[in-house]
């Protein structure tokens, strides 16, 4: 298990290094995720222990948001001052995103099905 945790850390470290040295517009951990993903593609599968390490990191993903979220106490004044633009923007934009993504996907999968009439469905 420890070796897979190490692999995850190494991916992140290399990711951070690539982003900093190449000046990429991408967070380091995302570059690390890409590296691990490429590794999995090359290897053609997820080793069971790697799966277990990843699942245990992700099972309580929402806990990991908490320390950053508590930082809201630093921004109470700003949020109060801009409460209207922030709340309208969050609600409208989230619902719009759900509508656009859902409609495009349902139209496109209908078209796909029609073009492959005896498809694997």
């Amino acid at each position: 298990m420890l070796n897979y945790l190490t692999i995850i850390f190494v991916c992140q470290l290399i990711g951070e290094l690539i982003v900093v040295t190449a000046g990429l517009a991408m967070p380091g951990p995302v570059a690390g995720m890409l590296l691990l993903f490429i590794g999995l593609m090359l290897r053609g599968g997820v080793a069971p222990d790697l799966g277990r390490v990843a699942d245990s990191l992700l099972r309580h993903l929402s806990l990991l948001f908490v320390p950053a979220g508590v930082g809201v106490m630093l921004h109470m004044k700003l949020i109060g001052a801009e409460a209207l633009p922030i709340s309208v923007s969050l609600i409208v934009s989230t619902l719009l995103t759900i509508a656009v993504t859902g409609l495009v996907m349902s139209r496109m999968s209908r078209v796909e099905k029609r073009s492959k009439p005896d498809g694997a469905e």
């Binding site: 908490v66 508590v70 633009p85 309208v88 989230t94 495009v104 996907m105």
Partner: protein, 239 residues
């Protein structure tokens, strides 16, 4: 015997207190959420944050003192982001068949999320650092915070935007999709995951297994798409 004040001074200078507080508050919130039948209004992340902020304000503790302990939890966001490659890979195989439809929907969703959030807030007079903090709000927190920092936003403000976005999507998303007549479970899941990341995915999983899998996939791809597209888009408009 030491008096209580001295004990408090000793404890609050050690990282153990605030680390433990974070874990205990989270578990209490999980329990309340489960007991409520997973009521989206009692989202455990939101509840945990409210609890901790209340305790910190009551005990007159600064955020930096709290973060001394909580940083150990915060640090794991990076490795957890890397670990997202695993579920992404697992689902990548399953959905390779509709790869085109999935990529087009998620990229359009990602653009809609950032552009509409920034446009609406800008029209209503938000400051530029608030706009930068809002732009990546549909992406899972660790990635959103990284993007926000790059754009000149406040990562901790972004974390709050992301969490509220997740809760809004989980509460109202299924209703919007039904009103629009989107009944295809893959499309419903994809929409939830693209717009409201992990919190939307948790909701989609409660409803339907297919929707849950597509939502998890959408969350991963959207994180990637937004991390690649948004900084470029931002440089075009605000650079």
């Amino acid at each position: 015997m030491q008096n209580l004040d001295q004990v408090w001074v000793y404890l609050s200078s050690s990282p153990l207190l605030h680390l433990t507080m974070t874990l205990v508050a989270y578990q209490c919130s999980q329990w309340v959420y489960a007991r409520s039948g997973m009521n989206p209004l009692l989202n455990p992340v939101l509840l945990t944050i409210v609890l901790i902020v209340a305790v910190l304000v009551l005990t007159d503790t600064s955020y930096s003192a709290y973060f001394e302990g909580a940083q150990f939890v915060h640090f794991l966001l990076g490795p957890a982001t890397v670990a997202l490659a695993v579920p992404l890979y697992r689902q990548f195989d399953k959905v390779r068949r509709s790869a085109l439809a999935i990529s087009v929907s998620i990229v359009l969703g990602s653009l809609t999320a950032s552009v509409s959030a920034v446009a609406i807030a800008a029209l209503l007079g938000a400051s530029e650092s608030t706009l930068a903090s809002l732009a990546p709000k549909s992406v899972t927190t660790p990635v959103a915070m990284g993007i926000s920092e790059q754009l000149g936003g406040l990562p901790s403000l972004t974390a709050i935007m992301v969490i509220v976005t997740g809760i809004v999507g989980a509460m109202l998303g299924p209703l919007v999709l039904s009103l629009l007549g989107v009944r295809n479970m893959a499309a419903r899941g994809l929409a939830m995951g693209t717009a409201s990341h992990g919190i939307g995915t948790a909701r989609a999983m409660q409803v339907n297994e297919v929707a849950g899998a597509f939502s998890g996939l959408a969350m991963g791809i959207n994180a990637l798409a937004t991390a690649l597209l948004l900084p470029v888009l931002w440089a075009l408009f605000f650079g």
